[in-house]
């Protein structure tokens, strides 16, 4: 069943916002799927990285509700392979930042068990809190 996508002023504003935050020319993504084929975290995602790019191209702010943007490990496997020279990690970061700048954290230190906190290296905790909290 074909789905009708309506582009509104609001959706265009959303695209522009993510383009500004990521400094990526998101509209040049031609949906080849190389990023999705390279992503180590794809098994944990609800939409693939290329689908996420398409959602942003169309200005769909539902991209902010995806699990995908929180599961990206910023490993840059997609970045080095993208034939259009795009960096999906930066797009995922821009999406996270839209939410985090509204003071909505994705990770709460109180939910991490004490034995995990004692064992985790500092670089794990610092990077997780920089990526997943505002």
């Amino acid at each position: 069943m074909a789905e009708t996508v309506v582009i509104t002023v609001k959706s265009e504003a959303f695209l522009k916002k993510i383009v500004a935050l990521s400094a990526e020319a998101i509209t040049v993504c031609d949906q080849c799927g190389t990023c999705s084929g390279s992503c180590p975290m794809i098994a944990e995602m609800d939409v693939t990285p290329s689908q996420l790019m398409r959602m942003v191209q169309l200005g769909q702010s539902e991209a902010l509700d995806t699990k995908t943007m929180w599961v990206c490990a910023s490993c840059f496997a997609c970045t080095v392979r993208c034939p259009r020279g795009l960096d999906v990690s930066k797009v995922a970061e821009a999406l996270r930042q839209v939410t985090l700048r509204r003071s909505v954290d994705h990770l709460d230190i109180r939910n991490i068990p004490d034995d995990e906190l004692a064992e985790l290296p500092q670089i794990a905790l610092v990077s997780a809190f920089r990526k997943l909290t505002g």
Binding site: F76, A77, V80, E116, I123
Partner: protein, 320 residues
Amino acid sequence: MTSEQTSTTRAAPDTGSPKRTRLPYYPGCTLKTTGKGLEDSALAVAETLGVELVELPRWNCCGVVTSLTDDDLMRHIAPIRNMVRVQEVSDAGLVDDKRVVTLCSMCFNALKWSNARIVGDAEDLKSLNDFMYLEEDYRGDAEVVHFLEILKELDPEAIAEQVKTPLGELNVAPYYGCTLLRPKSIGIDDPEDPTIQQELLEIMGATVIDNPYKTVCCGSYQTVQDKYAVAELTHGILSHARAAGAEAVTTFCPLCAFNLDNRQREVLEKHPDFEPMPVFYFTQLMAVAFGLNPKCCRFDLNHTDPRPLLRGKGLMKEGA
């Protein structure tokens, strides 16, 4: 700006000369705790090779991950403040080079990336200097290198001369992960098929097992919010190394080390048939090959004890 323009000296020691090359050294927080086996073994290996790593005074956290949004200058203050420290020790004549050496792959990536971004934008550099008005202005001429790059600059013969216990029958798969390789502008080797660890392991006489999972991400900081997702990646990386013939893997990253080593506990919960595999810091194996005191390896901090494997291969004495 090229390295030729900014580097003052090369690290290669003159053979036969007792003079050590003094390089500024940024440890980062984890090298003082779970990554102590990396720091202690690397310092011992460097000393053996005539390189003195001079720890920066008053270093601070590098931020670990580079902020990827375009409007986030504030998040580059921490790494750039460390570059001010590099400039200070260089200006004071305490080191022979303006290239700061890192051991932790994540610190390497975060510092090099921030440095490149800020040095590449005069206005941003001025903004940060104005913000850090209590510091000397950072002139932007210091560089960030990884210890592997220093090792590669050395004469291979000089490294080979130090090998007292060739690693012989030890089948090792080098693991690179992400931050040594990606993005391309920051990485130190081919992002798809790196060989820098292999070349050095071969000098130490090891049997190197190459496999394509050497560049697959371990899950990084996702280990904090979903340890089982990371355990699946660990299972994939180590199982492929094992299938290719490896008995151990090497890394330079304390977070990769945690995910590949400590998360084997979660791997075993989900995959009871999994055979645990030791995860070495690269310099731990160098210290073994050089016949250095095993205390510098801090094998007590490894989750999967590598000592039975080393003893089985005759690379470590009983009781050591």
